[in-house]
Symmetry: C2
Subunit: 151 residues, 2 copies
């Protein structure tokens, strides 16, 4: 029975450890991946913002296409913050990400939810709905950056 408990615990630990080790050969790969995904998301989010803030004319189709990409990209970066990917050169990720994993996950889950709402708002073709959803999503980005990204 003791052996079974030990094996069960080991398997559980392996299951938790698996994502990082299985998905990325090296921590640098995970860092590059999450930065790339966040960068692509940021580019498309910026285009939505340009319309929400009136810097470029509102085009419902362009807004919708960009928010779709934002919502897809929002799901990706978090796999790159797995165990063993803290530290490293060329990263602004604060150590708190790994010491406050539940809170960090709350933030990333919130972004996924917000960007889905943003895409839904863009689909309505209503600029005011887009503005509201954009502001809310931007606030979610900022809150997480303030807490978990070095200046």
């Amino acid at each position: 029975m003791k052996a079974f408990t030990f094996i069960a615990a080991a398997v559980t630990l392996l299951a938790f450890a698996a994502p990082a080790s299985a998905q990325f050969a090296k921590p640098e790969d995970a860092i590059k991946y999450r930065q790339s995904a966040l960068s692509v998301m940021g580019t498309h989010f910026g285009r939505v913002g340009a319309m929400a803030n009136g810097r470029v004319p509102f085009d419902a189709k362009v807004a919708s296409d960009n928010t779709e990409i934002v919502a897809t990209m929002a799901k990706l970066p978090w796999a790159g913050f797995g165990p063993g990917t803290e530290g490293g050169a060329n990263t602004k990720a604060k150590p708190e990400i790994w010491t406050e994993q539940a809170k960090f996950k709350e933030n990333s889950d919130k972004l996924v939810a917000e960007t889905a709402k943003l895409a839904a708002a863009a689909k309505t073709g209503n600029l005011d709905a887009l503005k509201t959803a954009f502001a809310s999503t931007a606030g979610t980005c900022k809150a997480c950056h303030d807490a978990y990204r070095d200046k």
Copy 2:
């Protein structure tokens, strides 16, 4: 009439020039964007390859999820190769991309088509179908890299 022709030509030129200048503030932004999109695509394509090549056990759901991301990402990088984004530091993009634009576009269009087929193959849950589509897509990557990416 002459003035109209001139204006029409100018508008046409502007329309062609718009994507690069409107979408990216600086050429470096376009370079970073296309590299990021290609990198994210490569990560997920690599995971499909690991299954297609038997390095990790085949999981139909994981394969399908990854091919969906690959197919989405495959549409993105090309906007980052617009006019004015040739040259620059930290890029392996060959000048031929800009002197052979029609051929380069053929290559990128082919990748979009191949990755859509790859996602469809993964959806069938049939490993042999996935292997075939993976090999074909990998060949498309390689042909374009051989022609347009510095070693």
